[in-house]
C-alpha cells in the first residue's frame, strides 16, 4: 500500500519545474505594479466591516417561565447568564460532534497499519463513550438552566466553523491514522481549555454542583488529550522507523472531592 511519505510525483513546488518556475517568478518581478497601496488596504477595509457587522446570531429566549425568572435574577446581579448558556451550547455541540469523530476514527483504526503504542479499539471506544456521556450531561445542564439544548448557540456555530476541517480529515478515505490523530489532537487541546472555562463560569454563577460535574468531564478530557498525544507521538515515530519513546504530557487528575 502506498504511503503519503513515499517519494512520488508531487508537482506543487517551484522546484518540481525549475525552468517554468523561474519564468513565472521573473515575469511577476518584472511586471508593472498597476495598483498602488499595500496589504494594509485589505486590513483597513476589513476594519470598517468588523466595526459595523452584526453578530452571527443571538441566544434563544429561555424555554420556560422558570428559565425566564432565573435569567432575570442573574441580570439583576449585573451578570450575563447567557454567556454560560452559550458556552454550554458550544460544548454540547462539540461533544456531540466528537462522538462522530471518534466513530470515524474506529474505521480508520480498522484500516490502519498500526505502530507500537498506537490506539486500540477499546481505548477509542472509551473516548467515544465519554464524549457521548458529556453530551448527555450538558443537555441536562442546559435544561436545568431553562435553556434549549436543541438550539445552536452562537459559540456552538462559530466553534463548529473553526473545527469543520477535522471532520473532513477523519472522513476522507485517503487520510492516514496519524493524520487523523493529529486532527483530533487539535480537538482535544481546545476541548480541555474549554471545559476549564466552563467550570469557572459555572462557579461564577454559583452553580457549584454543575461546576463539579464539569471538572469531572475535564478530567476525562485530560486523559483523552494524554492518550491522543501519546498515539500521535508513537504513530509518527513508528512511521519514521524510530524506536518508541515514553509518552509525552501528563494527564490531569480528577478533583479531590470526586
Amino acid at each position: 500500500m502506498k504511503k503519503p511519505t513515499d517519494l512520488g510525483s508531487n508537482r506543487t513546488g517551484a522546484q518540481a519545474s525549475p525552468v517554468d518556475a523561474k519564468k513565472t517568478a521573473e515575469g511577476a518581478s518584472s511586471s508593472p505594479l498597476i495598483d498602488g497601496g499595500t496589504a494594509a488596504d485589505l486590513a483597513a477595509e476589513r476594519l470598517g466591516w468588523a466595526q459595523d457587522a452584526e453578530p452571527v446570531g443571538s441566544m434563544p429566549p429561555p424555554l420556560s417561565v422558570t428559565g425566564a425568572i432565573k435569567s432575570a435574577v442573574e441580570m439583576l446581579k449585573g451578570n450575563e447568564p447567557t454567556v454560560l448558556l452559550d458556552k454550554i451550547g458550544e460544548r454540547l455541540a462539540f461533544e456531540r460532534t466528537g462522538v462522530r469523530l471518534y466513530e470515524a476514527l474506529l474505521t480508520k483504526l480498522a484500516a490502519a497499519d498500526l505502530h507500537e503504542g498506537g490506539p486500540t479499539q477499546a481505548e477509542v471506544l472509551r473516548i467515544r463513550d465519554d464524549e457521548l456521556r458529556h453530551f448527555s450531561e450538558l443537555k441536562e445542564a442546559m435544561e436545568s438552566l431553562g435553556g434549549d439544548p436543541t438550539a445552536m448557540s452562537p459559540c456552538a456555530d462559530v466553534t463548529a466553523v473553526a473545527s469543520s476541517g477535522v471532520g473532513k480529515v477523519l472522513s476522507d478515505p485517503r487520510t492516514t491514522l496519524s493524520q487523523c490523530l493529529e486532527a483530533l489532537l487539535m480537538v482535544e487541546l481546545v476541548d480541555n481549555d474549554s471545559w476549564a472555562v466552563l467550570a469557572t463560569l459555572a462557579d461564577g454563577f454559583g452553580k457549584k454542583e454543575m461546576a463539579e460535574r464539569f471538572r469531572w468531564a475535564l478530567a476525562d478530557e485530560a486523559q483523552h488529550l494524554d492518550m491522543v498525544r501519546r498515539w500521535v507521538n508513537q504513530e509518527i515515530i513508528g512511521q519514521a522507523g524510530l524506536a518508541p519513546t515514553p509518552p509525552q504530557g501528563e494527564a490531569l487528575q480528577p478533583p479531590a472531592s470526586v
Binding site: T12, A14, S17, D20, A21, G27, A39, L42
Partner: protein, 393 residues
C-alpha cells in the same frame, strides 16, 4: 488525421450506463496529478453543464423531441457527475477557483491560436487578458487571506501578474455584444471553439455565484461578486458570437460534435491512466449521442449532417502552457477596448461603459484593494523580507 466522426459510431445511447459507485469514484490528487488534469476536469464539467442547460431550454421549445433529449440529458448528467467528482475534497473552493482561471487562460489561449476567424480570435484574446488579471487578483486573495501560494495549483505553467485590470473590465452591455459568425460561411472549427468557450465561461460564472457567499472575509465576498460579474459579461460576449440563425437541432448537433472533440482532445493528452480511461469512454459515449442527433437532423430537417460537420475532427486542443502567447498578447493588446462590437487598440471606452464602471466602483474596487501593491513570489509574498513586511503593516 483526426477522428472520423462519421465512420466511428461510438457506443449506442441505450448502452451508456453508470453505477453510483462509478459516479463518485476516487478523485485526482491535488498534489501529484498534473495541473492540466485539473484543467481538463474543470473544462469538461463546464462542457457537460452547458450540454444540460442547452437541452433543457431546447426541450421547453420542442414537444416532439422531448424524449430523446431527456434520454441524452440523463446520460450527460451522469457524465458531468463522474467528471466533477474527480475533484478532491482537499481542494478548497479558492484553490478550485485558481484552477478555473487557469482553464480560462490556457484553453482560451490555445483556442485563440487555432481559431481561423480573425474576429473571433480577437475576441478570445480580449477575454483572455481579463481572465489573466482575475488569476492575479485571486492569487493575491489566496496569499493574503489564506496564506497560501496559488502556484501550488498552477504548477508553474501559468504567469501570475496583472492583465487588463479587473476594475476597468466593467462595461455597459452594449459593449459586450459581438457580431455573430455567419453559419453558412464559417469553418466548423470556429463553431466548436465558440461553443467550448461559452460552456467554460458559463460554468465559471455559476461556480463563483455558488461559492462566493461561502467566504467569510468581506473583501473576498466582494472580489467574487466583482469577478462573477465579469464572467457574466464574458458569457454574453462569447454567446453573442454564435449565429442565432442556426436551428435548435443544428446547435444540438454542433454541441455534440464539440463534446466529442473536447473529450477526444482530453484522451489524447491525459497522463493519468484511470482518468484517460474516463475520457476515452466518454469519446465513445459522445460519438453515440452525436450519431443519434445526426439521425434526428436527417429525419426532422431533412439535412445531411456532412454539410454541417467536418469529416474529421481538427487537431486536438493543446492542453499545455501558452505562456509566450499570453505574454505577447498582453504586451500588444492590454489597452484594447471594445465600443459596440468593434475593438480599438489604445481605445477609450464608450460613455455608457465609463458611466456604468464609475458607478460600480464608486464605494470600493474590491479587486484593487485585494491586490494593492501585490507581487507574487514563489512561496507567497511573505517570503521576501518578512521582518520589513511586518513593520510596514
Amino acid at each position: 488525421m483526426g477522428l472520423d466522426i462519421f465512420s466511428e459510431k461510438g457506443i449506442a445511447l441505450e448502452r451508456q450506463r453508470f453505477t453510483w459507485k462509478e459516479l463518485a469514484g476516487p478523485p485526482f490528487s491535488k498534489l501529484d496529478d498534473d495541473a492540466f488534469t485539473r484543467v481538463r476536469v474543470i473544462l469538461m464539467n463546464g462542457v457537460m453543464s452547458d450540454a444540460l442547460r442547452f437541452l433543457h431550454v431546447f426541450s421547453r421549445r420542442n414537444l416532439d423531441l422531448r424524449l430523446p433529449m431527456a434520454e441524452v440529458r440523463r446520460v450527460t448528467h451522469h457524465q458531468q457527475t463522474m467528471v466533477n467528482w474527480l475533484n478532491p475534497a482537499d481542494q478548497s473552493p479558492l484553490e478550485t477557483t485558481i484552477g478555473f482561471e487557469q482553464v480560462a487562460i490556457e484553453v482560451t489561449a490555445a483556442l485563440a491560436q487555432q481559431e481561423p476567424d480573425p474576429y473571433l480570435a480577437q475576441s478570445y484574446r480580449f477575454g483572455l487578458l481579463e481572465d489573466f488579471d482575475h488569476l492575479y487578483r485571486f492569487s493575491a486573495l489566496m496569499d493574503r487571506v489564506d496564506g497560501k501560494d496559488s502556484n501550488n495549483i498552477l504548477q508553474s505553467y501559468t504567469d501570475i501578474q496583472p492583465g487588463r485590470p479587473t476594475a476597468v473590465e466593467h462595461r455597459a452591455p452594449i459593449d459586450d455584444l459581438r457580431r455573430p459568425y455567419d453559419k453558412n460561411a464559417t469553418a466548423p472549427l470556429t463553431k466548436l471553439n465558440a461553443l467550448t468557450l461559452v460552456a467554460s465561461e458559463y460554468q465559471t460564472h455559476d461556480y463563483y455565484m455558488n461559492i462566493g457567499p461561502m467566504f467569510a472575509d468581506p473583501v473576498a465576498r466582494m472580489v467574487y461578486a466583482e469577478i462573477a460579474s465579469i464572467e457574466e459579461q464574458h458569457v454574453t460576449q462569447y454567446g453573442s458570437l454564435i449565429d442565432p440563425n442556426e436551428t435548435w437541432l443544428e446547435q444540438w448537433l454542433l454541441h455534440e460534435a464539440m463534446q466529442v472533440y473536447n473529450y477526444y482532445s482530453c484522451a489524447q493528452q491525459e497522463p493519468n491512466r484511470r482518468i484517460k480511461g474516463i475520457w476515452e469512454r466518454f469519446v465513445d459515449y459522445e460519438l453515440g449521442q452525436l450519431h443519434l442527433v445526426m439521425d434526428l437532423i436527417k429525419r426532422v430537417e431533412g439535412r445531411d449532417p456532412a454539410e454541417l460537420l467536418p469529416a474529421n475532427l481538427p487537431e486536438p486542443v493543446k492542453f499545455e502552457s501558452q505562456r509566450e502567447f499570453v505574454r505577447q498578447t498582453l504586451a500588444r493588446e492590454v489597452d484594447m477596448r471594445p465600443v459596440g462590437p468593434d475593438y480599438f487598440p489604445q481605445g477609450s471606452d464608450s460613455d455608457a461603459s465609463l458611466e456604468y464602471r464609475s458607478h460600480m466602483n464608486k464605494a470600493i474596487s474590491p479587486t484593487t484593494v485585494i491586490a494593492a501593491g501585490y507581487r507574487w513570489m514563489p512561496g507567497t509574498e511573505l517570503v521576501e523580507k518578512p521582518a520589513a513586511y511586518l513593520t510596514s503593516h
